[in-house]
Every structure is written in structure tokens, then in C-alpha cells.
């Protein structure tokens, strides 16, 4: 198998730009067209196909950078994180890590968080289906059961910690408005799918803390200890649970 693997490796290096297209003349037939031109077709398609797929999954990142910069960024990303998954939709799965680790610095500081937000939305889009818990379901429980109740988020739900105002940038780009200047923040965004619609919402600090406790498996009584400083902790707890139920965030 060594001969075959060696042939494939030579072609791989040509078509991914790791070897100069002039090397094609030793590997490929001429048949009336320069082998370098032939290899160039594959080299061009390799970048363009993956770039277009990443742009489709990260439309706000693509819009924020513009075509030329986005293409250069994707080339750097592919060098750092060669694609390994069979679905083209996963080609950008490490983009937020590449950006967060400083792989690309020619962009706003919220770019890495924006990529993470767009990735979370993609994951939610075709994540597992699940029925959501309803107010009617909870109404069947006696009030005394609530403090010990353990809730689960629907399986598409993710709590995303932001270090910059990427949620504001997403909203501005969605409205086709200029995105805001970057600033450092400490925010949590919940991302999930309600029926077929992907939703994200920036959480208040107390809600974020309570939801993190819920995700960690805490009973509601413990999860809502973070509300102790509220004017009316019980009313706030009811408000949060109602919001989660109406938003189809809690699994049945």
C-alpha cells in the first residue's frame, strides 16, 4: 500500500497548497493542459468549498470581516485546524478556538465570542429533538415538591460565557447595522431550539447563576439561593421558572 499512499500524499500536498503546483508535472498527465493548471483547479476548490461552508455556518463572522479578510482568515484556520469530520457543516467547529487563541488578530475583540455564539446556534439547529416541560406539567406537582425538584434543560440548550459583547454584535449584524466597538463584559447567553427555531437570549446575572446550578443538577431550592439578595426572592423564582417554561427551555 506504500506506493498508493505515497501517490495520494503527493496529490494531497498539491491540492491543499502545501506543495507548489509546478510539482504536478511529475505526478499528473498533461493531455493538452498543463498539469499545474489541473492541480490548480483542486487547490482552488479546496479553499473555496470550505470557505463557503464556514461562511454559511458563521454568517455574522463572515459579514464582520468582509470577503477578502474572511478568506485569508479561513486559510489560516485550515492550516491550524485541518478538517477531520465527514460533514462539511463541521468544517468550522474549532473556529472560535482558533480566534480565541489568537490565531487571527485582524478583527474586533468580540470575534471569537461571536464565532462561539454562531457555532452554538448551529449545534442547536440540528441537535436532538425533545419535548419541553409545560406549566401544566408543573401544575400537577404540590408546592412542597418544588424545592427538591431537579430540572433538565432541553438537549439543544447551551450556556455560553462571553468575555466581550458578541451578543450585541450579533444583534447589530442581524439588523444589517454596523456592529458596536468591542468591550469587555462578563455575560452568559443561553442558546437553544424551540420546536424548529433557534433562539439565544442574554441572561441576567442571577438567572445565569441559577441556570448553571440547574445544569449542574442542583434542586430548585438550592439553585435559587442566588436570588437571596432580590427584593422578592420567591417572586423572582416564579418569574424565572415561568420564563424558562414558556421559552421551552426545560425538558419534559
Amino acid at each position: 500500500m506504500a506506493d498508493l499512499t505515497a501517490l495520494l500524499a503527493l496529490f494531497h500536498d498539491l491540492a491543499t497548497g502545501r506543495a507548489p503546483t509546478s510539482a504536478a508535472r511529475d505526478l499528473l498527465r498533461d493531455d493538452g493542459v498543463d498539469p499545474a493548471v489541473r492541480a490548480g483547479v483542486y487547490a482552488h476548490a479546496y479553499v473555496v468549498r470550505i470557505r463557503d461552508a464556514i461562511a454559511a455556518e458563521y454568517p455574522k463572522v463572515a459579514a464582520a470581516l468582509g470577503d477578502a479578510t474572511f478568506t485569508r482568515m479561513v486559510r489560516g484556520y485550515l492550516d491550524a485546524f485541518p478538517t477531520r469530520r465527514p460533514s462539511l457543516r463541521d468544517a468550522g467547529e474549532f473556529l472560535h478556538r482558533y480566534l480565541a487563541d489568537g490565531g487571527w488578530s485582524d478583527g474586533p475583540a468580540w470575534l471569537a465570542d461571536l464565532a462561539a455564539l454562531e457555532r452554538a446556534r448551529t449545534d442547536a439547529f440540528d441537535g436532538p429533538d425533545a419535548d419541553a416541560l409545560t406549566r401544566a406539567d408543573l401544575a400537577e406537582l404540590p408546592p412542597t415538591a418544588f424545592p427538591q425538584l431537579r430540572l433538565r434543560l432541553v438537549p439543544t440548550a447551551t450556556l455560553l460565557a462571553l468575555t466581550h459583547n458578541a451578543d450585541d454584535a450579533w444583534a447589530a449584524l442581524e439588523a444589517e447595522a454596523p456592529p458596536p466597538p468591542a468591550r469587555e463584559v462578563t455575560r452568559t447567553v443561553a442558546v437553544w431550539r424551540r420546536d424548529l427555531v433557534v433562539i439565544h437570549r442574554t441572561l441576567a446575572d442571577d438567572e445565569a447563576a441559577a441556570l448553571r446550578a440547574v445544569v449542574a443538577g442542583a434542586p430548585l431550592g438550592d439553585a435559587f439561593e442566588v436570588l437571596a439578595g432580590a427584593d422578592d426572592p420567591a417572586a423572582r423564582a416564579v418569574e424565572l421558572v415561568t420564563t424558562w417554561l414558556d421559552g421551552a427551555l426545560i425538558a419534559a
Binding site: D3, L8, L27, V37, A39, T83, R85, S87, D129
Partner: protein, 277 residues
């Protein structure tokens, strides 16, 4: 050997609302890209289930990478098998190509060297895949822009021999025959003649673009006159094989594609009359 499904369309996201909302007269079946539906849930799976309730479905993959020397991806095959078990497709296919090496997946259809070593390698892998899926698969001739210097076989002979030895089928992409023959100076009729009639289980039709001296398989144009003529030749040789039109870019309104599918139906009918006349 393969179901005669009539004429179908590649199911694309832009047409989901139309296809799920009302009947689609003029379309006998739909082809889906397997990898797009190898997901846990959400709209893609919902649409696929809805379409499958009303139509035969054919699954067409792009990531099998049958020609690589990497091991077969068992997780991928497991997911493909699970989707097959759920959807019960009439046909399952992928390409005679490779798209990964050393764990790097390139998301393109790269040409296989047409050597005896590669032939034996591909045959063995097709047999493994068919065992894993519990069914026969079809391999499609890809559009190629380059051919390795190494290798004494031509593409059609290589594909035919893979089909015979591995007992698999052939998905004949007529546009790809046209594109590859143009790009390499091959004879289109000789290409069709080299393929065993009983192995051709499905046909693809599509459009292409011109890039200098080469034709590029872009799936962004209607089927051109040369490809329609070659399709007629294919029907005369291979019979009423299930035929599908693919469009992946500049996707027109659904009814426009159905009208083009009508052209395919009429071309096939005329070719069959000539064949039997």
C-alpha cells in the same frame, strides 16, 4: 438488479417549504445528500421523514472516501447504516474518489490513481462497506480535472472492474462523463460502452461551467444540449435507469427544476422508443 424509480430531483434546503407543503407532480422520487441528515434532530430530519412518507428516497453520500488508504471511518459507517435503517432508501451511493488522508478530510472528490493496486484496494473497501451496510452500494464516476501518470487503466474500465469484482452498482453521472471526457480528450461513447449494462443503477444529470480549457462540474446551470444528447445515448444503452437532476448553486424555483425533469423524461422516452423501435 436496481429499482426503476423513474425521474427524481435532488432535495435542497431552498425547496423544503415547497416540497413539504404540497404534492410534487412530475417528481417520482427524491435524492438526499446523506451527510446532511446524519444529525440528531431538528428540521433536516423532520423534512426527510415527511418526504419519505410520500416518496421513495435515494441516499447519496460525499464523504465515504472509498479510495483513501486511511482506515474506513467506522463511526461514519455506523451513522450511515442507522440512517439507512430509518429511511429505507431505494438506493445508496457515493463516489469513486478519495477525500481524506492522514485523518485530514478535504471535502472534495479527488481522483483515484487508475492502478491495479488502487483497484484491488477499492474493491476490498467496497466489499467492507457493503457488509457493514448490509446492502449493495453504487459508485459514481466523478468529474475529474487531473489523471495520475501512474496507472494503465482508463477511468471507465477501472469503474467497471470495481463494480464487477466488488459486486456493486454504478451511478452514471452523464454530466461528469461529458466534463471528464472534455478535460482529458476521452471518447464519450467509448466511456459509456466500457460500463457493464447490468451494473448501472442510477443516472445523474447536472450543469457545468467553463474555465479556460477545462469544464468544471459546478451544478449551477441547466443541463446543456451536449449532455442531453449523451443522456439519450445512455438510456439507449442502459435502459430506463432511475434518473435524477442535481442543482447545488444558483438554485432555481422548484417548478423550474420540475420542468427540466420533464425534459429528462421526454428525452428518455424518445431514447427508449429508438432502442425498441
Amino acid at each position: 438488479m436496481f429499482p426503476r424509480l423513474g425521474h427524481g430531483l435532488g432535495l435542497r434546503t431552498a425547496h423544503y417549504p415547497r416540497v413539504t407543503a404540497e404534492p410534487c407532480p412530475g417528481v417520482d422520487w427524491f435524492e438526499v445528500i446523506s451527510e446532511n441528515f446524519m444529525v440528531a434532530g431538528g428540521n433536516p430530519r423532520r423534512v426527510l421523514r415527511a418526504v419519505r412518507e410520500r416518496y421513495p428516497v435515494v441516499m447519496h453520500g460525499v464523504s465515504l472516501s472509498i479510495g483513501t488508504t486511511d482506515p474506513l471511518d467506522d463511526a461514519y459507517l455506523g451513522a450511515l447504516r442507522a440512517l439507512c435503517d430509518e429511511i429505507e432508501p431505494a438506493i445508496v451511493s457515493d463516489h469513486l474518489c478519495w477525500s481524506s488522508l492522514g485523518g485530514h478530510t478535504v471535502h472534495d472528490l479527488w481522483p483515484v490513481p487508475y492502478t491495479e493496486q488502487a483497484l484491488a484496494h477499492v474493491v476490498g473497501r467496497v466489499e467492507q462497506v457493503q457488509d457493514r451496510l448490509g446492502r449493495r452500494i453504487l459508485l459514481e464516476n466523478p468529474s475529474t480535472y487531473a489523471v495520475f501518470r501512474d496507472g494503465d487503466l482508463d477511468e471507465a474500465a477501472f469503474l467497471a472492474e470495481v463494480a464487477r469484482r466488488a459486486d456493486c452498482g454504478i451511478l452514471l453521472d452523464v454530466n461528469n462523463v461529458h466534463v471528464s471526457c472534455h478535460n482529458h480528450g476521452w471518447d464519450r461513447q467509448a466511456y459509456l460502452a466500457a460500463l457493464p449494462v447490468e451494473r448501472v443503477g442510477q443516472i445523474h444529470l447536472a450543469g457545468h461551467s467553463v474555465d479556460g480549457a477545462l469544464l468544471i462540474d459546478t451544478h449551477d446551470h441547466p443541463v446543456c444540449d451536449d449532455v442531453w444528447r449523451l443522456y439519450g445515448d445512455a438510456i439507449r444503452r442502459f435502459g430506463a435507469v432511475a434518473t435524477c437532476i442535481e442543482r447545488d448553486d444558483h438554485i432555481p424555483p422548484f417548478d423550474e427544476l420540475v420542468a427540466e425533469l420533464g425534459d429528462a423524461r421526454r428525452t428518455a422516452a424518445a431514447a427508449r422508443e429508438e432502442r425498441h423501435g
